[in-house]
Assembly symmetry: C2
Homo-oligomer: 375 residues x 2
């Protein structure tokens, strides 16, 4: 296909797959799209291991990496004092999380101890930690570095240039798009409010044309709500240079998602997600469950990042394990980030099958327009 | 263009224009689309006058009518006791509305008296009132009757059949779409959460394909966020049979919108709307203003329909007049329903120019896909 994205990365089909699962990343790149590994929570040694695995399995095809490298952060002043962070967690929040679990007959033993294990992600939010992760990343043949939160810091843009790695950024408004273009990013990912994970309020169908106008020629990938090739074609008709999808891979056979959550996603409609602060402290879209409903109805006010994550994540990981073991209460509570596109994800596929389906649906969409125009 | 919507109504271009302004309705129908007059607040005599005007000015082109005919309503038990309704308005709400105005140096004199004038819309919500409006409607050559709220009552479906008038309905979820199809509607309007006025939470880009799947062949119009022909083409690529637009007409030279609000809309971005219960009691999307911000921040809990409307509407109409007279405080408070598409509405056009622009942009979108596919 002809697209600035295909030219930029030497790929056949401008479909980018954001995934925390290395198998998905490699499979999509091999199928003609491009996988982008989400490495937000990886310490350098684990990232090295994951990228080495991808290098071995991607048949030399291009892939990318998604990081959170904040230009400013409360954690900026050197190494993170983990004990101090843990000490900042209010008893009220821990108690509420425990109460929700206990009401569903889920034991909370071990959760408190596991909070410390979840702390390593905070290292990546400091300049030193982010620098170490960037060094690992750039020692691999990545083709794209994406910053998931705000304008990429100068070090990311500079190191990207130095290694001929393109730099991209997610944006949720036309105003932010203009700032990113001024900063010199190579690709904008316009992510609508229907997207899974952290998201804004402007929807994809409005945001994409608005960002294309603001982008002054910088290629724009459409993100948020896209789970089919007809939607991808539709967004490209509106001026996008391709699509960036995250949710659609979560129900593939390769995905990291727990079996219990996969089952829920396959039967969910688009109305079964909620945009809530209860998982990370910032609004993020996720599958509705007894857990999200409890927090929405009666939860204490979510804490600022990264504290709320230290409340929710250990409990949710604990639930995933129990749910996959067949615990009914844990099944009802379990949840994961996903966008409204979940309503269109009704069949279990491999990641390669998803890419192939997108290609076929893209052609169908084009033929539909051809017929409408009587050409 | 070839579309089930073009065949159904004998129109050239499947763009439907929802408007409270008869001039917009006539202009769009004459330009090759189809205007749909929003007559929610019209008593039978005024509706007769408006439709007679359209008949005189539409050059025999087809047009439609949008009503709210609820299948059930709190007002169902006969004629509305207007004094009783006015007596149900809590002092707290009236006082809050007045305080917001007075803080902006806006006199509140006359507002209390004008509440009674705003009461006539409640007549249309009763079965007798709705029947009278339907009788007026069907004495004109309308081609489409749309119910804006829920499944059309049997009388609307029956009378539509009898007069060879197609019946449509707005839906915000796939589940509601299935119910509408079972009830026998001829056209579904899938309205995403980015739409102006009453709206759900599922976005257009997800809702349209989901509703198309649920519609079992019933044609689906895409609504919510659409202000350009490229977006219309994109939605038709995803399976829509055409587009239904409301916001895009609000900044046309014909529109009923106050000059002050028109100016605000032309400079607003997509982030400048809010989905709030403060106008009607149900979530509706409107332009952010000092009024909506005051209600969101500190307003009393919105009242159920139709009471909240009797609080807000008299105050807002009062503000429109003062704002157009140059009152600065009133300008800052003034607002109107509009969708996120407002971010794409940056130039004043006539309604006919909008239709023409949509046609040209539709072709551009198709050519963009043709080029991407290298065909």
């Amino acid at each position: 296909m002809r697209s600035p994205i295909c030219e930029m990365f030497g790929i056949e089909f401008p479909l980018l797959a954001f995934s925390h699962c290395r198998d998905v990343v490699a499979a999509v790149s091999k199928a003609g799209g491009m996988g982008v590994f989400g490495a937000v929570n990886h310490p350098p040694d684990l990232l090295e291991e994951e990228l080495a695995w991808i290098d071995e399995h991607v048949d030399g095809k291009p892939y990318g990496l998604d990081l959170i490298v904040p230009t400013s952060s409360v954690l900026q002043a050197g190494p993170v004092d983990k004990d101090a962070l843990l000490g900042m967690l209010p008893g009220e929040h821990k108690q509420f999380a425990n109460d929700v679990l206990e009401k569903a007959d889920v034991s909370t033993s071990g959760i408190e101890d596991s909070r410390r294990e979840h702390l390593h992600f905070t290292d990546n939010l400091t300049p030193d930690g982010a620098g170490a992760v960037l060094d690992v990343a750039l020692s691999h043949p990545i083709k794209l570095l994406v910053n998931a939160l705000g304008v990429p810091p100068q070090i990311m843009l500079d190191k990207g240039r130095e290694h001929s790695v393109k730099v991209g950024a997610l944006v949720g408004s036309a105003k932010h798009a203009a700032k990113q273009v001024d900063a010199g990013v190579d690709v904008l990912i316009a992510a609508g409010g229907e997207a899974g994970g952290h998201c804004g309020e402007v929807s994809t169908v409005v945001l994409v044309p608005e960002v294309v106008r603001a982008a002054q020629g910088t290629p724009v990938l459409a993100a948020g709500g896209i789970a089919t090739g007809t939607q991808m074609a539709g967004m490209m008709a509106m001026g996008a240079a391709g699509a960036w999808c995250g949710s659609v891979w979560l129900t593939t056979s390769e995905a990291e998602t727990s079996e219990s959550v996969k089952e829920k996603m396959l039967t969910a409609t688009s109305a079964d997600t909620v945009r809530s602060r209860s998982r990370t402290g910032k609004p993020s879209r996720q599958l509705k469950s007894a857990w999200t409903e409890a927090w929405e109805a009666k939860g204490p006010k979510p804490l600022p990042m990264p504290l709320q994550t230290l409340i929710s994540e250990p409990a949710l990981r604990h639930l995933d394990k129990l749910a996959d073991g067949g615990h009914q209460g844990a099944k009802e509570l379990s949840t994961y980030w996903v966008g409204q596109a979940v309503g269109l994800m009704n069949e279990k596929e491999t990641s390669g099958q998803v890419v192939q389906r997108f290609k076929e649906e893209f052609i169908e969409a084009y033929e539909r327009l051809t017929e409408a125009l009587g050409e």
